[in-house]
């Protein structure tokens, strides 16, 4: 018995009816469509000129910088966006090609290198490489920087409505806020966490005193239980809307990225809100995400890509991103251009003590991924 069997009963009258009542409007629409398609053909052809394709995080480059680069290279920069490394890798696994540059986080760089998906860099084409702070050049995922050039970094931390938290007498700098019912009681329905298994587990693992890269399944299970216990107090899983919700005052505590929190704090200030949005790195430690520019093998224009990378290594251009979104900056030459209140913010540029408590995530193998995925389903369902 096929599913088709249900259809003749009802789809038929229903769907013909639907067509009949709309068709004339759409007849005209079809004519117009043709005209529009024809008129837009030149626009589509414009793509055939020099184009650099960038696969980047959303809002991760300043429009001014882009405009200047387009002017210098006489080319167009086209961007596609992702909001999660897993999503980016999944899209590449699903056959996405044609990207000259991708800006993945360390663990995803590691995966891409192991996949042999990246093109080695021609260091001769990157005269500004020396601008980089040497501290960021010995990362686990690409020790000799054969493939990757550090772009910017963020810390996964807590953003909060400072006015509310102070009024409630709550601390700012501990994951306990996110996981301990005694704090959460006062925040019920006002908390969001990242919709990312790795990030949320990392926060829970750090809070429990384990490494964010702990592979012990019993530790994972403890982290899962901690999350499930706290979940009833949370409003939603959110990877980006927390920026807006913090600004509006709907959400008082959000687990998210330092650069997003910076934007939320700025927006709240600009909108003249009666409260202040703040953010700080929990004392138990957190995840540091170092995003690097890499050349994807499928990209047709490595020449333009290298020019772009060198352009971004310029201190002034690199600082522009930091000033716009409040991301950490691995470029020593950029520091002089960065506004002091960002440069002095320890939740954006941690001091050496803070750096010791930060960890970069490592990639999981397929069995670990499946176990984590199952735990994630459990977390979502309970």
């Amino acid at each position: 018995m096929s599913a088709g069997a249900v259809l003749p009963v009802g789809v038929l009258p229903g769907s013909t009816r639907r067509v009949q009542s709309r068709n004339s409007g759409l007849g005209a629409l079809q004519g117009l469509a043709l005209a529009l398609v024809l008129s837009m053909l030149p626009l589509l052809q414009a793509q055939a000129a020099d184009v650099l394709r960038l696969f980047n995080w959303n809002n991760y480059i300043s429009q001014d910088t882009l405009d200047r680069f387009e002017g210098v290279c006489h080319c167009r920069v086209l961007q596609d966006y992702y909001s999660d490394n897993e999503e980016m890798l999944a899209k590449l696994a699903a056959g996405a090609t044609g990207y000259d540059i991708i800006v993945p986080t360390g663990n995803a760089v590691e995966t891409l290198i192991r996949q042999e998906a990246l093109r080695p860099l021609d260091r001769k084409q990157l005269p500004h490489f020396g601008n980089l702070n040497p501290d960021f050049l010995k990362a686990f995922f690409d020790p000799g920087n054969r493939y990757s050039v550090p772009y910017a970094y963020t810390i996964t931390l807590l953003g909060y409505n400072q006015t509310r938290l102070d009024a409630l007498g709550l601390p700012h700098d501990t994951w306990a806020l996110l996981f301990e019912p005694r704090y959460l009681e006062k925040l019920k329905g006002r908390v969001t966490v990242l919709d990312s298994p790795r990030e949320l587990m990392a926060a829970a693992l750090r809070y429990l005193g384990y490494s964010a890269n702990d592979r012990d399944e019993t530790h994972w299970a403890r982290a899962r239980d901690l999350i499930i216990r706290a979940k009833p107090y949370w409003a939603s899983f959110s990877n980006s809307s927390y920026i807006k919700e913090l600004t509006l005052g709907n959400i008082w505590l959000a687990h998210g990225y330092s650069n997003d929190m910076f934007v939320a704090a700025q927006d709240a200030q600009k909108a003249g809100r009666a409260f202040k949005v703040g953010f700080s790195t929990p004392k138990e430690g957190a995840v540091l995400a170092l995003d690097s520019m890499v050349l994807h093998k499928s990209g047709p224009r490595p020449d333009l890509a290298l020019r772009f990378i060198d352009f971004m290594l310029d201190g002034h251009n690199s600082a522009e991103l930091t000033n716009l979104i409040g991301s950490g900056n691995p470029n020593a030459a950029a520091m002089q251009y960065i506004t002091p209140d960002i440069a002095n913010n320890r939740a954006i540029f941690p001091d050496s003590d803070g750096v010791r408590r930060l960890e970069m995530l490592r990639d999981l193998d397929r069995l670990q991924r499946r176990v984590l995925n199952r735990m994630w389903v459990e977390i979502k369902l309970r």
Binding site: R18, A93, S236, N250
Partner: protein, 310 residues
Amino acid sequence: MRDFQTSGGLLRALHPATLTRWLVSGPPTAFMLLFFLAPSLIMVLASFRFPGAFGGLAPLIGAGRAGEDTGLTLENYQFFFSDWLYAEIFVKSLVVALVSTLTCLVMAYPLALLIARSPKRHRDLMVLLVILPFASNFLIRVYALMILLGPQQALASAVNGLLALFGVAPVNLLFSTFAVIVGMVYVHLPFMVLPLYTNLEKHDPSLLDAAQDLGANGWQRFWRVTFPLSLPGIFSGSALVFIPVLGMFAIPDLLGGTRDILIGNLIKDQFLGTRDWPFGSMLSIMLTLVVLGLAGFAARLGRRDRNEET
């Protein structure tokens, strides 16, 4: 089409009726075999295989990379059946689909009835008004609900004001199972109204007159005459709502809270999140089986219903 006639010398060898049959049914059959049946079978195959070393699927043809297993396995199914967790998601999705379908029915029935009993010249306009929101993309309609259910809006204030009167703590309308169901209903409502209306419109009003003459009151006339006659419309409308709701992932994604994960989200995550294609394929096969089972059930109900009528 001149070729058709001039090349007749060659084609006369075939019986013309057979030839026409092949010419007409051949191209669509070939297309659907290639782009519907073949992918479906590949998906069945994929559900018995291992993921690739870096996610996705181990290559179907030829040797994989080092450490990649290209054999067949029941591992994916074992993982599914190893405990109740995944079955629970299916049950949950079925419940959400059922509630959404019933809500649609309760809302659509009076409307369809009213349209069917309105003067002929008004009916087209009334139907058009049901369809018109369909002219906007479903994501736009979901987005509209996101605004409307947001905590700043009058609706949330009104509901929470009312709850406060009874001493109940304020609730979030958005990002909740409630929002997911409202979204499902909002997006699928016309699918319920239209088949119901097409069915109700065909009813012979003299039946109701007869019932009235026999002394049936308004409610009895509805329950004994109109409702049984409209069952085929109810079944088809329900199928048109239930099945799409079952596979939906965008609505829980955008409107759901911390508990709202449905089969669709789970499948989507396997392909665009955790890169576990074999497990995703297995889940898709399970969903297919559920839908086929339901369709068979609905068809049987419909047939029994028709037999009773005759």
